[in-house]
């Protein structure tokens, strides 16, 4: 992706994050999982969130995706304050999340999984009276969706998901998110359960989503992957945001050093928006 002039010039519009967390606090009893964390996601970017185990990245993502409610702090979507009580609330606002656990229903087919919870009925009395689903229509749309994301290897939308490989299952989950998301896609360790080849497929998917202009939050442990696809990197440490850096200006080992606390980030390496750090060229 190339830098557009709009992104390069700091106008009020580009400075407005799509999704923003302001001073989010989340406590579980005495444990403070998130200690006043900020996060900004700008249009069209891939923001990676990295951090050691227990740094609070999963909790942060749960708050953004509606799986958990923050104890304090605000979540702003397009500058408007929103509260998510359930993942469904977040989905209704256009935020789709893909979880590391391959959250698909194995016995349903690809189309069934893509439309799970959002099934479409047939038109006419068969649909309204008998509540019959439009299987053909959903398979057709699923096919269009998969093709547009470049997942051409999956031809038969009536194929049960359990007969797919881990990478293909994750591709289905990502395609579901991409199909219904209007604002933000959150990917929580999408490659954690996958092999090398399959991880590549998912990374390619992330790039095709960015080409569509949808911003992505990518949570990952895998530094090479993060440095490959991310435009900016949010480093989480001990429940706080340690730094936001650009993969262009920081080395992988320095990023790990910030993550583990061995290095305090140098100010000029910090970036706070896409205008100061051009997105990676691909």
């Amino acid at each position: 992706m190339t830098v557009t002039s709009q992104e390069a010039t700091p106008t009020a519009q580009t400075r407005q994050p799509v999704l923003q967390a302001v001073q989010i606090v989340k406590t579980y009893g005495h444990v403070v999982a998130l200690d006043a964390v900020d996060l900004e996601l700008y249009p069209g970017e891939v923001l990676a969130v990295i951090g050691d185990n227990g740094a609070g990245k999963s909790t942060l993502i749960k708050c953004l995706s509606g799986a958990e409610a923050p104890s304090q702090g605000d979540i702003l979507l397009d500058g408007q304050r929103v509260t998510f009580k359930t993942p469904l609330d977040a989905r209704k606002h256009g935020i789709e999340t893909v979880y590391q656990t391959l959250a698909v229903s194995p016995s349903l087919d690809i189309a069934g999984n893509l439309f799970l919870g959002r099934e479409e009925r047939r038109s006419g009395p068969l649909g309204s009276l008998l509540r019959m689903l439009d299987g053909t229509g959903m398979r057709k749309q699923a096919k269009t969706q998969m093709t547009s994301l470049g997942i051409g290897t999956l031809q038969n939308m009536g194929q049960a998901v359990e007969s797919l490989s881990g990478g293909q299952r994750q591709a289905v989950a990502v395609a579901r998110a991409a199909a219904f998301s209007s604002k933000v896609i959150i990917l929580d360790e999408p490659t954690a359960a996958l092999g090398v080849k399959e991880s590549r497929q998912v990374l390619k998917l992330i790039e095709s989503i960015r080409e569509r202009g949808l911003p992505v939050i990518l949570i990952s442990h895998n530094m090479p992957q993060v440095f490959e696809v991310a435009d900016r990197i949010h480093i989480q440490r001990l429940g706080k945001r340690a730094a936001v850096v650009s993969p262009k200006t920081i080395s992988m080992s320095d990023a790990v050093a910030v993550m583990t606390g061995a290095l305090k980030v140098v100010p000029e390496q910090e970036v706070d928006g896409p205008d100061t750090a051009p997105p990676a060229q691909t």
Partner: protein, 346 residues
Amino acid sequence: MSGTTAAPDDTHYDAAEEFLEARTPAQRVQTTLHRYPWLSPAVVLVISVIVFGLLNSKFATPNNLSLITQQVAVVGALAVGQTLIILTAGIDLSCGAIMVFSSMVMAKTAFDSGVPGPLALLLGILVGAGAGAVNGLLVTKVGLPPFIVTLGTLNIFVALTLLYATGRTIRDSELGTGLAWLGETFTIADVRITTGVVVMLIMYAVFAFVLRYTAWGRHVYAVGDDAEAARLAGIQVKRVLMSVYVTAGAIYALTGWILIGRVNAASPNSGIDANLDSITAVVIGGTSLFGGRGTVLGSLIGALIVGVFRNGLTLAGLDVYYQTLAVGILIIVAVSVDQWIRRARA
């Protein structure tokens, strides 16, 4: 995949393309059985009908086969509700008790209070749905395992039935109009068919459609498959579970109506062990006890297999103990086949 004997990790990553063109004949069978879980019981049913037909000339007569359907009507209808619950990875031990309780409510309101038959029937169905709701609430709100919940309510509903009926059977002459209707028969080409069997078949048709073609049906499978994945996909898992238990309760009550027609009376002591028979039918029918896989069609076939074995072994002059032995072996074989099919997918 490089070798013929691939390491498990290897299969996990590269299996997909291979599955499109299944590798060995055994795997092709496995894949097909997995896609159509009712297929293996259907084969067993056809073979057993042929074998029993060859053993005894009286077996394969239209009237004997019709008799078998009458014998399985109650367990078969009960198995519709049981299938729904097992598809959600639950189990219902209280189904027989709810059925008898509902049938007593129907008979007693018709007999004692003189409520017209259709109204008594409706009342019974409401009681059944309410009993299902009790199970559902305990499973979803209190979070108890379905096995424990229904083990408890099994005893509760048996006790309530006996207390309510004061141990008394209501006979045919005392039943309200409409309640014994399902015991009546009509003939098609000299074959006697009871209306109860027809009602059971209608129940199967309705729920086969609902499970296959409606969003609710898909959600039932998704919840049983992986409740967490379903929740993350935006399905309200507890609401689906609750609706399944209530629906199953109503189905049990309808089965109570079939029961009244079948025994031509409402007795607090009838059909108590029907719970295990219905689980047997569901399991032999290829529905997985782990949830998310199976069909109501399979359960109908499962119920018919048990009926065919019992009837066929009786005609063959074997002691009733051998029937029980055969059913036991069938269960073990059915679950083993299910495990074998599932292993291929792990």
